[in-house]
Subunit: 435 residues, 2 copies
């Protein structure tokens, strides 16, 4: 049926790249029916030749040499799936300079250098698509960029790391410790041998940087996004949060509804009847509030070979349609004609955040402890919504658990510094913010 063929050059044949290669090969007929033209995997590059054999690439497709793709004028679309900053960045810039359309799933690269790549693409009049960089197979980039384009996005709450959500779901269901669940996740291949990138929230911060750029049209600096992970959370805190009516999730929070732009990553209390609270296991979700659309939730598998390949090939199809149609009329990478200039997006510092707080104080079992804590909080204008004090022994002290009304982070930190210095307090206080 195909009069013309659109030629794809794939860089990287790992988990995601291999999935994209298989999808393009196995579903060739379906994709041709959708596109009205052949979508051809013309070349695929990886340093590891073994992968080409495992993927059963047709003869002549595999190359060890990336430039066989980047220098080939017949390649229409370059798909970068090696991840990391370099050489991915140089490859993409060279593809752009050669007038090729670019598809990438590289969240770290976009979080660090998205503005530079998008500016280069704009100057050259080519597109950069990146649906797979956030939320794997979930159609959230295109939804924010196009379907919801008429809205001012007031706030987003994201569960954007499947490893963390898997660990927290298990800790919640089984009362198990972070370390025990992490070991199990590693044994089952759900967590990396070096888990810090996931469990310390860095991966989530990369994704939040991309969502923030998409929503505001300006790129934040990654180091301006306050980022805390889940390794310090205990089953005790998850259980107490449950008694207050909350689940604990690692959230990416974006908000521009209260003056200034906030973007932060940390564990957070989510009300049990909020739709995000039911996002469990390896699932990801983004909850969006727009000024016209109201609340929207987009939910699905945030990682894995097949869901991520689905998103990458969705982007390839979009690029291919643009090429077949003459290469114009496509939505720009951040969904708006003019990118904001004047340097990186200014974010509100964490000290100015205002939210409710969960505290778990660990105190000696003496009378007057609660009064001493309450006095310090009152002096910092932090008022208490609920207290649980059950006198349970937890090695080194009795937990006193509180949920505050809304308070300012700076006041909270000042109060905790004083409280943690009290003689009756035997361990540093645990703090979890409310979403």
């Amino acid at each position: 049926m195909a009069e013309r063929s659109v030629k794809v050059g794939l860089i990287g044949l790992g988990v995601v790249g291999g999935g994209v290669a298989r999808l393009l090969l196995e579903e060739k007929e379906r994709l041709a029916e959708v596109l009205g033209a052949e979508l051809q995997l013309a070349r695929a590059a990886d340093l590891d030749e073994k992968l080409a054999g495992e993927l059963a690439l047709p003869a002549g497709v595999y190359t060890a040499e990336v430039n066989a793709i980047l220098d080939d004028p017949a390649i229409d679309i370059v798909v970068e799936l090696i991840g990391g900053l370099e050489p991915a960045k140089s490859f993409i810039l060279k593809a752009i300079a050669g007038g090729k359309q670019v598809v990438t799933a590289n969240k770290a690269l976009l979080a660090h250098h998205g503005a530079e790549l998008f500016a280069a693409a704009r100057q050259k009049g080519v597109g950069v698509a990146f649906e797979a960089s956030v939320g794997g197979g979930i159609p959230l980039i295109r939804s924010l960029r196009e379907s919801l384009a008429a809205n001012r996005i007031n706030a987003c709450l994201g569960i954007l790391n499947g490893t963390c959500n898997f660990i927290l779901t298990k800790m919640t269901a089984e009362g198990a410790s972070f370390q025990d669940v992490l070991k199990e996740a590693q044994a089952r291949g759900f967590a990396e041998a070096d888990p810090a990138f996931d469990v310390e929230g860095i991966d989530t911060a990369h994704k939040l940087a991309i969502v923030t750029a998409l929503v505001t049209g300006a790129q934040p600096r990654l180091e301006d996004i306050p980022t805390e992970g889940i390794s310090r959370l205990t089953p005790l805190d998850i259980q107490f949060a449950g008694e207050f009516g909350y689940k604990v999730k690692l959230l990416a929070l974006f908000n521009q509804d209260g003056g200034g732009v906030e973007a932060r990553v940390h564990p957070a209390l989510v009300p049990r009847d909020h739709v995000l609270a039911s996002v469990d296991g390896a699932f990801n979700a983004l909850h969006i509030n727009g000024d016209w659309v109201g609340d929207v939730l987009l939910y699905g598998l945030g990682a894995g070979r097949r869901p991520t390949a689905s998103a990458v090939v969705g982007d390839i199809l979009e690029m291919a349609r643009g090429i077949l149609g003459g290469g114009r009329g496509q939505t720009p990478p951040l969904g708006r004609a003019g990118l904001k200039n004047g340097g990186p997006l200014a974010l509100k510092p964490l000290s100015e955040a205002v939210c409710q707080y969960y505290f778990r104080f660990t105190a000696l079992d003496k009378p007057g402890v609660l009064a001493a804590i309450a006095k310090v909080l009152a002096e910092h204008r932090i008022s208490i919504e609920a207290v649980i004090q059950k006198g349970r022994e937890t090695g080194g002290g009795v937990p006193i658990v509180m949920l505050t009304h809304e308070a300012r982070e700076a006041s909270v930190q000042a109060a905790l510094e004083i409280i943690d210095g009290l003689e009756v307090i035997s361990q540093p206080t645990m703090l979890i913010r409310k979403a």
Copy 2:
């Protein structure tokens, strides 16, 4: 900033049309920033001139005469928001014939005549966008058509009517009767004075027809979609379903995973831990299973002025980008280059459906009743997973409630005909299928 202006002609200034007019007027600067060109509400037609005043349309925009839009060569995009079959269909066909891009939210028209409109648009080389026709502000049409375009969609489960979901949520929370909650919903403006279109599932069937066309590329006949509403449901059934671990939702079900294509609308049991079970109140959602992406859920407000206007203006922006880019490279209405021909999509008849069933028998309080029912079921090869028999009096009999294993609809109907003829059965049996 705008060099060029894209001109929009709006037909219909009711709830949704009025919302679109306000969005285009109030957010003019934001939309120009997104598009890189002015998006101008050039003309707006409605028979009711009063509406133009209420919306504070600028001078010269209002017209009582639709042809002032359809015959104006300067109008680029025609937005049809009057609903219903005629004259909406004639207006759209005339707009297409005039080479204008079309945006509509008209689910009834698309469900009945989508294939004809899409064929006309294709012949003329213009686009028809309809994000707002299903799920209001939820970005589900574009997600199915573009982001998930690489997938074969195996199954969809939709909660697509906010009125029904509001009523069922209230019946569940309060144990109230359908009639009482309906009256309250009508008093609060959540249900129409004539509620049959919503509560008998017709609106949901229209939306399912559109989703089915999008997913298969072929249009089903509306009369081939088995459709049951929620008016026969009782609080007793909702309570018993809860005891089995299920919520009751009005679902649009699409499935092509088991040979043949199924599309049906009826109340259904949803496992309480399924993500759809937490879609409550006026919210809508579509749960999608694709062969590569796995499970995806898209959730949001399925109706209302502002969410629906958000979707319509998202479509207008897409059309405007295409026009500014030269009018090519856009995704066709059903997301594929070639529509399937050869008449309407053949759907599996309901009699061939296979699923689990909830039965509530109403029997005289005599020994041997359960044995008599079980014998008939066994003769029809319907096996029982669980039984609740509590001897509660419910006016005219004692309820016996069952959940079956998977059974075939034809066998179930044959068995129920015999059972309902037994002397010990005092009322027709209630049946609810499992999702």
